[in-house]
Symmetry: C2
Subunit: 315 residues, 2 copies
Amino acid sequence: MGHRQKVTIKDVAREAGCGIATASRVLNKSGSASAEVRERVETAARELGFSFSAIGRALQGGRSMTIGCLVPSLANPVFAEAVQGVQDVLSGAGYQLLIASSNYDGDADNEAIATLAAKDVDGLIVTMVAPERSAALMLARRRGLPVSLMFHDPIDGFLSAHVDNFAAARDVAQRFAALGHTNTAFLALRFSSSDRSRNRYAGFRAECRARGLPDPVLIELTEAEANTPETLAGILASLGGLTAIFASNDFLAIAVQKATRLMGKSVPKDLSVVGFDGIEIGRLLDVPLATIETAPDAMGRQATHTLLDLLQGKA
Amino acid sequence: MGHRQKVTIKDVAREAGCGIATASRVLNKSGSASAEVRERVETAARELGFSFSAIGRALQGGRSMTIGCLVPSLANPVFAEAVQGVQDVLSGAGYQLLIASSNYDGDADNEAIATLAAKDVDGLIVTMVAPERSAALMLARRRGLPVSLMFHDPIDGFLSAHVDNFAAARDVAQRFAALGHTNTAFLALRFSSSDRSRNRYAGFRAECRARGLPDPVLIELTEAEANTPETLAGILASLGGLTAIFASNDFLAIAVQKATRLMGKSVPKDLSVVGFDGIEIGRLLDVPLATIETAPDAMGRQATHTLLDLLQGKA
DNA sequence: TTGTATGCGTTATCAT
DNA sequence: ATGATAACGCATACAA
C-alpha cells in the first residue's frame, strides 16, 4: 500500500547517469544517442517501471491525445453502441476517450461541453439536446476545437455523422401506405428535446400528406408511461382503430410490441410496429423488430474518422 | 475558424492589471483580495472567456480529477448501464470519466490499464478478463493507485462491487430442482475469459451435486453461434431432453428464447430459461426474462462510491 | 493585500 | 552526441 510514487523521466536520467534531454530522446526514439547511453537509459526505465506522464506531455506539446464525447445516456443501447464504435477507432489511433452524459438535459449538455473543453480535449464528438442553440458548443468551435456531430442532421458548418431522419421516416410512411394503413401514429419519448425525433415525425407526416392520407397521431410519452407496458397498453387502446405505429426508437418499439400483446392483439397481424435505430438486441427478439437500421456503431466510427481527419488536416 | 487560442490565467492577470497569483486567488476564491481587484479580475475572466486548464491544474496539484474505467465492451448493455452509473456518481463529485474497453481481450486489458495509469487518473474502476493475473493492475496498486473492481468476486485486497455469482447460481439450481428439472445445461459465451461466468457455473453445478442431481451440461458458444438463432437451435436440439437452461447472461438468455421458439417449443412451458444481469430491456420482452437481477447501474454506482471514499481517505 | 519565483513532467532549443 | 534550460498553465510559499 505504499503511497503514490510516480517515476519521472528525471529519475530515469539520474539512474542512467545522463541528462534529462538525452533520456527523453532515447525513450522517444527521437534525436540521436550513443548505443551505450541508449542501453543504460532503457534498462533504467525498465527497472524503475517508468512510463511517460500524459499530463506532462500534454502541457508541453499542446495536445492531450484525448477526445471528449457527449451522449444523452449510455443506458440507451443506441448511444452505448455508438460510443463503443468511437472507442474502437480512437484506441487504434492512440487517443483516449473522455466521456460525459447529459441524461437528456439541455443545461447539463452545455455544462458538459464546457467541462470537456476545459479538460483540453483535442476534439469533441457530440450528441446533444439542442446543438444548434448550444452556446458552449459554438464557443468551442470559435476556439478552434474540432467538433463532430453524431446522429444529428447537419447544422451550420459542423461535421456530422448521421442518417437522413426525414427521408427514412418517409420510407416508413410509404411502407405503411403500401400495406393499406391509413390510421397511424408516431410515438415519441422526449419529443421536445430530440431533433432526431422531430425530424422523423416531420418526414413521416410529410409523406402521409403527400399521399393524401390523414396526419399520423403524435403521441408524446413520459418515461414512466413508456416503461410501464400496462399504461402504454391503456394509451394505445384509448386511441382506437390504430393499425400501424412508428416508434421513435427501438426501445420504444419493443415496449409497444409488449403492450400490444398485453391487449390481446398480435404484431404484426393486428398492428404494424416499426422502430428506429437497429440496436443489436432487436435481431434476437421472438418477433424480429421491424426497424430503420442505422448501425449505431458505424455511426460512432464514422464520426470519429471524420474528426481524426480534421485533426490531421490542422496539424 | 480562428486557430486554437487558449486564454490562460496569465492573460486574465494582464488584462486585470495584477499578478498571476492574485488572479488565481480570486478565481479560486482562495486567499484574500481587495474588492476592487476582485472585480477587475472577474470581469477580465468573463470578457476573455477564461476557464482553467485542467492539465495545468493536474500537473501542479498532483490530482487529475479523472477516473479511469475499463470494461469489456459497451455494446453489452450490462456494462453500458454500469458505466452510466459510474458516470452519474462521478460527475456529481466533480470528476471526469476516462473510458477504455478491451473487447474481452486479456492483452488489451493490460494495455488499457497501463495507458489509463499513464494518463494520471486518480483511480481505476475495472472489469477485466483476469484481474487476479493482471500485471498492470498489480503494478497500479503497488504504485498506490486506488482500484475498485466491478462485477468481479473479491480478489486479494481489492475493493469490489459485485454480486455473489456462486450463491446466485446455486439459487438458480434450487429453483430448477423445485420445478423438477433434472436435465439442465449452462450456456456460456467466452467461458474462459470470464471469471463471472465460471463462478456461476461452479455454483450451479455445486448445488446440483449437493442435491444428487446430474451435473449440468456445460455449453460454450462462440459469438457466431450465439448470434445466429438457427445455429443455436440446432445445438440445443442436438442435446435432446433438456428441460432447463441457465444462460450466463441476459443477452444469451434472450437468444435462447428465440432459438427455442424456432424449434417450435415454448418458454417456459417446454423449456425453462433463466438469465443473469437484469438488463433493462429484459423487462420489456413479450415473455419477461427470468433472470438474476444484479442492477448493473447500481453496481457501477457502488463501485464508484467505494472508490471515492478511498480517495477521500487518502487525501 | 499583492506580486515574484518555483516546481509539477515533458519536449524543444540551443549550446557545447 | 549530450546536457542545461526555457516553456507549457497553474497553485503556492514566500517576500514585500
